[in-house]
């Protein structure tokens, strides 16, 4: 197995090396005064960041991103947690179908339901505004909260709820005094994951955003499409800002959740 081990680590090192190259190229370019065809740029500057901030109205874009993400997180938690609780605790006719329905928006490519969704939102004059962006982003987020919360809920022994009832706690007391405190870690994990996913969600926002409701990813994409008018470095500076904010979110997320949860918590339904 030794050669196999070396091969594995070698391949991993090769992958990481190229990754550093890819990220490094953007990072270096965003700080370079001028860089073409050489190993290293002629000089370094932070001017492009100031220019990107000004040119692309980054303050407004970041504000929109923040507003959209926070709204999506709050609403999807409010809808998703009760749903996850009922799905985890009860076995009823049609539960399998409902489970599938809550799995599909995570499984399907966003484009497949995004295009009909955007069409419907345009029909009701919701698209092209922040409301439309929030509504569209909720579609995969609510199921994602359900999926993330389910294991957290299942690990709370129903006997603990019974014990609270035996102590004289009514339903409201069971919810606020027992379930809520025990579910806080799960809700935090789900929230931060939804936040990361919403900030990074391109397709749905792209399909529903208007000029005043672009989030950072979409704005970034448009700036690339409009390249040529502005210096490449400003686009790179913006991309670095995006990645840096995602990285901050991710570092926070990793404090609360196991990295494997960043992907999904797919519960086996068979």
């Amino acid at each position: 197995m030794r050669p196999a081990a070396w091969l594995t680590w070698g391949a991993l090192a090769f992958f990481l090396l190229n990754l550093v190259g890819v990220v490094g190229a953007v990072l270096v370019n965003s700080f370079s005064t001028q860089w073409f065809g050489t190993w290293w740029p002629n000089g370094l500057t932070t001017a492009w960041y100031a220019e990107a901030w000004r040119e692309y109205n980054l303050f407004d874009v970041l504000l929109v991103t923040l507003q959209v993400s926070v709204a999506v997180v709050v609403i999807s938690v409010l809808i998703g947690v009760p749903t996850a609780y009922a799905l985890a605790r009860r076995d009823f006719p049609g539960k399998k179908l409902l489970n599938l329905l809550f799995l599909l928006p995570i499984l399907m490519p966003p484009m497949t339901y995004g295009i009909p969704l955007a069409t419907v939102l345009y029909k009701f004059h919701l698209a092209g505004s922040m409301t439309g962006v929030i509504v569209a982003n909720l579609v995969p987020s609510v199921p994602f909260v359900v999926l993330t919360m389910t294991p957290f809920i299942e690990q709370i022994d129903t006997k603990i709820e019974s014990a609270a009832r035996m102590c004289g706690a009514r339903t409201s007391a069971v919810l606020t005094r027992i379930l809520a405190p025990l579910l806080i870690p799960g809700i935090l994990a789900a929230s931060i994951l939804v936040l990361v996913r919403t900030v990074g969600m391109f397709e749905l926002t792209f399909l529903t955003a208007g000029p005043d409701s672009e989030t950072l990813v979409v704005s970034l994409f448009y700036s690339v499409s409009a390249a040529g008018i502005r210096a490449q470095q400003t686009v790179d500076a913006m991309a670095v800002i995006y990645t840096a904010s995602m990285l901050v979110l991710l570092v926070i997320a990793l404090r609360f959740v196991n990295p494997t949860q960043l992907v999904t918590r797919l519960k086996e339904h068979d």
């Binding site: 809808i79 609780y85 009860r90 009823f92 329905l101 490519p109 295009i115 419907v120 196991n258 797919l266």
Partner: protein, 300 residues
Amino acid sequence: MTATATTTSATPALRHRLAERGVDRLLLLLVPGTVFIALLFLYPFLYGLQLSFQPNTGGPLANYERFFTDAYLRDTIWITLRLGLPAALFNVLASIPIAYRMRGKFRGKRLITTILVVPITLGTVLTAEGLIEYLSPVGWFNKILLGLGLVDEPVRLVHNYWGVLFSLIITGFPFAFLLTLSYLSGIDPSLERAAATLGASPRQRFRHIVMPLLAPGLAVTFCLSFVLAFSVFPSAIMVGEPQGSTHVISIAAYNTAFRDFDYPMGSAVAMIMAVVMLLVIGLVLLWRTTLYRGATGGKG
């Protein structure tokens, strides 16, 4: 039994019979979620489906006929599969040996995991920009190849099929790796130790113990990786050749719906996309049903 007794006992009995089937007031908690998913997922999807059968011109199936007779549209399926399948396959296969070596506890494990997770933060745009600059004829990659004398002239790796594939690997590999790792750590390590005491070599242990228990998880990992790769959209535009070799199905759907404003046709393309994706996933999951899917003895 008297009539009054029957009526008084009927109410709790019905409630009990419903509760027996899991139907009680707690299910009210499902109402917001169900209404939401019906209104914002199911309804638009069905609306899109019926819209696709109401083309701007021609009979109900005209959109679908147009898709399959127009080579430029029809080929998007093949182009997307040619990108999605290899990318998903590579991401899953590459994850297995790396995840396999990361099962136990060792120094630096957290660091490596974190580094492997970082590409999730890159987003498609930075990845695309990075690939364009890193792999460009005058970029670092070609400079190194030329410097080492491996090639005589710069290799062209962006604005074509390869650029998109690399982008799919960079963004998709962390997902596949983390999923595989979580499935692997769900396998009780004492099973491997038990096999070792029975005389199985490391290779045999991997072949006869780990792989059979991991395979169902790998099937799911492959499906999710495939969905991710099959959805490819912005990177196909930025690092690919969106009018040619990377004219993927998402681009076709978007362009017909929001550039040509032919919503019915756009919906039809989206439906075809969903069907192709479900077909591939269905086949993989069908294969999965032939595997052992019981407990893997671990915490997973």
